[in-house]
């Protein structure tokens, strides 16, 4: 379990990193926290010709609050996100999900951008970003663009990023009033990739009806899955145990087509989707200030 030979670069600025990526024409991999890439290299599942280590690029590590919401530099350690008051206030869903990501040791090293760019369908952060409708700022030597989360995740370990493009910042809009969020997952052991996980954002209107519900599921497809049908079920309705059950049912039967693997059958995942959707929606509506009738 030793990696194949590779070249190693440790640039100090984003510009230098982008130049290196461009120079290697897709055969270099950016190295963030290394929590997925390094094991893959040790197993020789990944054999990049070069590594561009981003860990010395100070300009990529920050958490800022502004009028337009919260922005997080891609190389910000997950632990810093977890412990940030700015995140707790501005993006409570993200704050709630952070402790579910692996273990403190891994979060000390792992970065928010690294996890998103790796795009593991079982990872928490892609689903959270999809639920929050985050905006990803990407740069390359040729320029800069912003990619919405709904267009960023392209499939199993695939993103909209070009090989010479670097994810540099994650932008989160402020939460509307009367919103509630919830994150839940079922994992084999604490800190494992989830068998199924869910991130939910709901917003109520002045009459207490559901104005919007964004439900993102993880570990049920080849990327995070937005439960569109479940969301539709709720929109315009006054939240109730029955409505929540109907949404959960829609999520499990219409929104997902989960895979089977050695840890969970498709049928078991579908069950978990139904149960977690129900429980997460109940919690999110409660936090949004809804008065639900009936037991969920």
């Amino acid at each position: 379990m030793k990696p194949a030979a590779f070249e190693y670069f440790a640039p100090a600025t984003v510009d230098q990193a982008l130049a290196l990526l461009a120079a290697h024409g897709g055969e270099a991999k950016p190295l963030a926290g290394g929590q997925s890439l390094i094991p893959a290299m040790n197993f020789r599942l990944a054999r990049p010709r070069a590594l561009v280590d981003l860990n010395r690029i100070a300009e990529l590590s920050y958490i800022r609050s502004a009028k337009g919401g919260t922005t997080i530099g891609a190389m910000t350690r997950q632990r810093a996100v977890e412990q940030s008051d700015v995140v707790t206030r501005g993006a409570p869903l993200l704050a709630e999900a952070m402790p579910a990501i692996a273990h403190p040791q891994i979060r000390n090293r792992g970065t928010i951008g690294g996890s998103l760019a790796h795009a593991d369908p079982s990872a928490e952060l892609p689903a959270v970003m999809l639920a929050l409708d985050a905006a990803f700022r990407a740069r390359s030597v040729t320029g800069e663009r912003t990619i919405p989360a709904s267009e960023f995740f392209k499939g199993m370990l695939e993103t909209a990023l070009a090989p010479d493009e670097l994810l540099v910042e994650i932008g989160l809009r402020p939460m509307p009033d009367r919103s509630g969020t919830a994150f839940l997952e079922v994992a084999r052991r604490h800190g494992d990739y989830a068998l199924v996980g869910i991130a939910v954002v709901v917003t109520l209107d002045g009459q207490g009806r559901c104005k919007a519900a964004r439900i993102a599921l993880l570990s049920v497809g080849d990327g995070p899955v937005l439960a569109v049908e479940a969301g539709k079920t709720l929109t315009g309705q006054v939240p109730s145990a029955e409505m929540v059950r109907a949404a959960a049912d829609a999520a499990a039967t219409r929104d997902v087509d989960p895979p089977s693997d050695i840890h969970a059958s498709a049928a078991y995942r579908r069950r978990l989707v139904a149960v977690l959707t129900r429980r997460a929606l109940g919690r999110a509506f409660e936090r949004a200030g809804a008065t639900q009738r009936g037991r969920s």
């Binding site: 030793k2 052991r189 494992d192 059958s265 049928a267 149960v275």
Partner: protein, 780 residues
């Protein structure tokens, strides 16, 4: 003469921990020698294939590669390994010996079997060179499923045998057919019990160095049995045993697989070191460990229990299949343990047990902590649960009614154990242990009040209680040498290897108590054949029992020498002497007398005469071999909560009442129990080796092979009981495996109880949330 300092029975802090916790303990991978070369093995990607050619020519030309060896390069050195444990003399036994080979020749029999060995200047280069080797192999259908292995037309793992049958054995006691005819009820079920890897924190590692001037080979090896490895290597390499030194330094967990002999790597690294004249190192990585280190795996039991109306056991019949993997160097230890341990602490007058071991295209099966005992305990405990349900008898009560009574010991089970001796329980007192467990977990109140209350609130909490026995502490023997040095410190050398059990403390306690010194003043040396070269190894929960008794005997002889010499020096009768605080003094004169160190000097004078009939020094060597194994026992109880919607299981409490005879160090025993239970919980709910139909292991990493972590294992509440063994002077019985043995049976019972009313029957281990969900959804 009285013992003034009690050491045995005290929770003495561990002598070895300062070294371990500060990173100063030597492990094999810490051995770094000048000019050392590194090895990587090319391993089979096929579970079953005919091997036509291995071309290593390109690999040999890669810069940094020093040598590449294939089977044909080994010449006469290529030979199958020995049969380590010949099967017991069971009448009618069939046993086909097929032992592992150093490098595959002609045929590949499991994924991970070594094909070629690359020796290079670094491990990186060695691994790079693996890609250069061209293997031509014709894949054959893999033998994976236990039942299919014996079906007609199934490909054979070993072409020279008529089928995949590795062994067949029947053991009988009484007349089961008659018992069955008299039964009120016969409970019959099919059970599956699967296990996994031992997952020691340290993988295997071997470093070998040939010294051409001293003509001595030194091998650092993570083995549990350094002395047999030395003896075997000497024979294989044509050296005197005294020319080979095997050191098993600190080893990060053994659990059984590290006693397997001889692993291909263990045979090849020393050979290469001698051939190349440079030190050679190989450290197994975690991925290799999943394929190349022995495992335990599945058995399928068709078992039935004949009982009277009041739940008295009349007899048991069990027919089972055992997966032995691609080779069977360890004989029948695992299935015989299953066969014997099924009898448990119960009075079972009639027993018929038949097993068939089969070869499969999977990694070799040898003992892993518990060594087949789990499987047997699962079968009898589950049968008793179903009998209780059917007869409407309380689960604890049906067990109580069948427990052996104290006056029945020694109890002859009339079948043979793995050590070829009759399976005779030396001593035991089972009912008080059951009562204690029920009391501590508050069984009556839980079942009567708490459980219905929780259920009414929508919570599914179950309780389980199971009993087990464990044959431990088998022979043949171990030895120890105790020396009082002029510094007053005591050296103790023994041949067993150590893998974290606390030998440096427990053996020291035994010696310290006999000699009246501090435990910290006893310097223990284990696992170095230069220091002690008679013995067998650390296995079968026998360290404290067998090696401990040898330490006891050697210390007793040194004590005699001390008293004899001190009596002469102090001009006092031996009966008036006291050993304490590292001194010998006359009773009533604690400030007088002589220090042991000073006495040691007098025992080895530079001038003058050693008195005729005496030996120099305060030193003695002694050996101990028990007549047969001792029988430890225990009761485990647990509370679990199941979320029926998500099939998630949470262990709320775990209680162990165990009896390992004399408890030498309660803290260390509790650690063994806690660790064993962790192993058991892993086996019950987390760990499973998942093979596909082609014999490929689908979860060969800790990402997918799940070990329970600190957050998944509860703090075990341990209660000690001591029923002394009459078979050794300490009265000790083994405890190394105990915690891991009944956990699967307990888990099944408790989870089933949590879901009581659903009609769910758990007939298999390991479980997982997804499997539990599947079982719960199955129409009944």
């Amino acid at each position: 003469m009285t013992h003034t300092q009690r050491q045995i029975g005290e929770s003495v802090r561990r002598n070895e921990d300062a070294r371990l916790l500060t990173g100063r303990a030597l492990f094999v991978d810490d051995v770094r020698l000048d000019g050392m070369l590194h090895v990587a093995f090319l391993r089979s990607q096929h579970a079953h294939a005919r091997l036509s050619s291995v071309d290593a020519s390109a690999a040999r030309t890669r810069p940094g590669v020093v040598a590449v060896y294939t089977a044909s390069d080994l010449g006469d050195y290529w030979r199958p390994g020995p049969l380590l444990v010949p099967p017991p003399p069971i009448a009618g036994l069939v046993f086909n010996t097929c032992t592992q080979v150093p490098l595959a020749k002609d045929k590949l029999r499991h994924v991970g079997e070594p094909i070629a060995m690359v020796v290079a200047e670094s491990r990186y280069v060695a691994e790079d060179a693996l890609d250069d080797i061209v293997v031509e192999a014709e894949p054959l259908p893999a033998v994976v499923d236990l039942e299919a292995a014996l079906a007609a037309g199934t490909p054979r793992v070993h072409d020279q045998l008529p089928s995949n049958l590795a062994a067949h054995a029947v053991q009988r006691k009484g007349d089961y057919a008659r018992a069955r005819a008299q039964a009120h009820t016969v409970i019959a079920r099919r059970f599956r019990y699967d296990r996994g890897v031992s997952a020691a924190i340290e993988n295997r590692a071997v470093v070998a160095q040939w010294d051409p001037h001293a003509e001595e080979l030194t091998v650092w090896d993570t083995t549990q049995a350094p002395i047999p490895i030395r003896n075997g290597l000497a024979q294989l390499l044509g050296l005197l045993e005294s020319q080979v030194r095997v050191v098993a330094p600190f080893v990060g967990g053994g659990f059984g697989p590290k006693i397997m002999m001889y692993y291909p790597e263990e045979v090849l690294i020393p050979w290469a070191a001698m051939r190349l004249g440079r030190p050679v190192k190989w450290t197994e990585d975690r991925q290799e460990n999943f394929f190349a280190t022995t495992q335990e795996r599945g058995q399928i039991h068709d078992a039935e229990l004949a009982v009277t109306k009041d739940g008295t056991i009349l007899g048991v019949r069990d027919v089972f299949l055992h997966d032995t993997g691609a080779y069977d160097p360890y004989g029948l230890t695992v299935p015989i343990n299953s066969q014997c341990t099924l009898l448990g602490p119960y009075d079972i007058p009639n027993y018929e047990s038949e097993f068939t071991a089969v070869f499969t295209n999977k990694t070799i099966v040898t003992p892993v902590r518990g060594a087949g005992r789990q499987h047997g305990v699962f079968v009898i405990e589950r049968l008793l649960d179903f009998a209780a349900k059917e007869l409407r008898i309380d689960r604890a009560e049906i067990r109580r009614r069948n427990l052996l009574r104290p006056e029945q010991f020694p109890f002859d089970n009339q079948i043979l154990f793995q050590d070829s001796a009759p399976l005779t329980y030396d001593s035991g007192d089972y009912e008080p242990a059951l009562d204690t467990a029920l009391e501590v977990i508050d069984y009556k109140r839980f079942v009567g009040e708490e459980q219905p209350r929780l259920r009414a609130a929508g919570r599914h909490v179950g309780i389980g209680v199971v009993c087990y026995v464990e044959g431990t502490g088998i022979g043949p023997y171990e030895g120890a040498r105790v020396t009082v040095e002029p510094s007053g410190r005591v050296r103790l050398a023994t041949g067993v290897g150590t893998q974290g059990q606390g030998h440096f403390t427990v053996f020291a306690q035994i010696v310290a108590e006999a000699l009246g010194v501090e435990v910290s003043d006893v310097h223990v040396i284990t696992g170095d054949t230069r220091e002690f070269h008679w013995g067998t190894g650390t296995f079968a929960s026998r360290g404290a029992v067998v090696a401990g008794s040898a330490c006891h005997a050697a210390a007793a002889r040194v004590r005699e020498k001390i008293l004899e010499l001190a009596s002469h020096e102090l001009e006092a009768a031996q009966a008036d002497l006291v050993l304490e605080g590292g001194r010998v003094h006359v009773r009533g004169d604690p400030t007088g007398g002589i220090a042991l160190g000073a006495l040691a000097l007098k025992a080895n004078p530079l001038r003058g005469a050693v008195r005729p009939g005496t030996e120099p020094g305060l030193e003695a060597t002694a050996y101990f071999g028990p007549d047969r194994g001792s029988t430890a026992s225990g009761v485990h109880a647990m509370l679990v909560e199941v979320d029926p919607e998500t099939a998630q299981v949470e262990i709320k409490r775990y209680v162990v009442v165990h009896d390992c005879g004399r408890v030498i160090n309660p803290m260390i025993v509790e650690g063994q129990i806690q660790g064993g239970v962790a192993h058991g919980i892993g086996n019950a709910f987390y760990e499973q080796l998942v093979y596909d139909d082609e014999g490929q292991l689908l979860n060969a990493s800790f990402m997918d092979y799940l070990l329970p972590t600190a957050t998944d294992v509860p703090n075990v509440e341990t209660i000690h009981r001591e029923t002394l063994s009459p078979l050794n002077p300490l009265g000790a019985k083994g405890v190394g495996e105990a915690g891991a043995i009944p956990t699967g049976a307990l888990f099944a019972q408790a989870v089933e109880d949590a879901l009581a009313g659903s009609g769910l029957e758990i007939l298999e281990i390991p479980l997982s949330p997804t499997r539990l969900f599947e079982l719960m959804e199955r129409p009944r």
